[in-house]
C-alpha cells in the first residue's frame, strides 16, 4: 500500500517533465501567431484607433486569472476529499502564475483606460473585481508560505481556495451592484459594436497561448515542489538530473 501513495508524486514528476516543454513550445507558437493576427492582420478599431490592440493581452490575462483560480479550487477540492498528495502541490504551483496574470490584467487595463476614459483607474466593476481577485491570490500565497509543515500548508491553502471561489461570484455581483448604484463608467473593452472576426480570432489565439503558458509553468514549478518534499525518497537520489 505504501508504494502506491509514494509513486504518485514520482509519476507526476516524470509526466510534468514531458508536458512542460511541449506546453512552452505551444505557447511560443501560439503567441507568434496571435501577435501576427493582432498587429498585422487586424485593422485599427474605428472608435479606439490603435490603442485597442491592448485587448490581445488584457482580455486573455483577465480570463486566465479567473480560470487559474477555478483550477486551484478544483485541485483543492480533490486534495481535501481524496487526500491525494499531489493536489496541494498543483494548487501551490498554479498560484503565482494566476497572481501574475491578475497583475498584468490590471496593468494593461490601466494603460488602456488612460487614453479611453482619461483616467488610469476607474472603479469599474470588472477592474475592481480583478483587484480583489489579486488580493485573494496574495492571501493564498502568503498563507501557504507562512506555514512550515507542508501537509498543513496544503490543507489550509485548500480551505482558502475553496472559500475564495465561493466568494468570487458574490464579490463580482456586489461590486457590480455597487457600480450601478453609483453610476460609474460602464464602457466595456470587449463590447465594441463592430468587433471584426479577425480581432476575435487574435484574442482567442492569445488566450490559448496564455493557457499553454500557464500549464507549462505549473508543471515546471510542481517538479521543484516534488523534489523538495520527496528529497529523502530513494527515487530522487537516483535521478540523472542530480548526478555529479
Amino acid at each position: 500500500m505504501f508504494w502506491l501513495q509514494y509513486a504518485a508524486p514520482q509519476r507526476l514528476y516524470g509526466l510534468a517533465g514531458r508536458i512542460y516543454p511541449l506546453a512552452f513550445l505551444l505557447a511560443a507558437v501560439l503567441t507568434a501567431v496571435g501577435l501576427y493576427l493582432g498587429f498585422w492582420v487586424a485593422p485599427a478599431d474605428f472608435q479606439q484607433g490603435q490603442a485597442y490592440r491592448i485587448i490581445f493581452v488584457h482580455v486573455p490575462a483577465s480570463w486566465m486569472s479567473m480560470v487559474i483560480y477555478v483550477a486551484m479550487a478544483l485541485w483543492a477540492w480533490l486534495g481535501l476529499s481524496f487526500k491525494t498528495r499531489v493536489s496541494g502541490m498543483m494548487t501551490q504551483a498554479l498560484a503565482p502564475t494566476g497572481a501574475l496574470f491578475c497583475f498584468l490584467s490590471l496593468w494593461t487595463g490601466a494603460l488602456w483606460g488612460k487614453p479611453m476614459w482619461g483616467a488610469w483607474w476607474v472603479w469599474d466593476a470588472r477592474l475592481t473585481s480583478e483587484l480583489i481577485l489579486l488580493f485573494l491570490y496574495l492571501g493564498y500565497i502568503a498563507l501557504t508560505r507562512a506555514i512550515d509543515d507542508p501537509r498543513r500548508a496544503d490543507r489550509a491553502g485548500a480551505v482558502v481556495a475553496l472559500v475564495g471561489v465561493v466568494n468570487v461570484p458574490i464579490i463580482y455581483f456586489s461590486v457590480k451592484w455597487w457600480n450601478t448604484l453609483h453610476q460609474g463608467a460602464s464602457v466595456s473593452l470587449t463590447k465594441s459594436p463592430s468587433m471584426a472576426a479577425v480581432m476575435l480570432w487574435a484574442m482567442l489565439v492569445m488566450t490559448l497561448a496564455f493557457w499553454a503558458y500557464a500549464v507549462g509553468m505549473a508543471f515546471y514549478r510542481v517538479r521543484q515542489t516534488i523534489l523538495e518534499r520527496e528529497q529523502d525518497a530513494a527515487w530522487v537520489g537516483e535521478l540523472k538530473e542530480i548526478a555529479p
Binding site: F39, A44, P96, L104, P244
Partner: protein, 61 residues
Amino acid sequence: MSWNSWEEFWDMGGYAFFVWGSYGVVFAGVALELWLAVRRRSAVLNGLRSQREDAYAGDAS
C-alpha cells in the same frame, strides 16, 4: 497589411506608450517568472546534489 511603414507601426497611431507599455510589461512579467522558476530549479537541484554527496561521504566513513 495595415501598416505603411515601421515608423507608423512603432507609433501605434499615437498610442505607442500605452500599447508598448502593456506588451512590454506582459513580456517582462513572463520573463521574470520564467527566470525565477529556472533559478529555483537550479537551487533545488544543487541542494539535492550536496545532500547526496553528504550521504556518500557518510557511507565512506
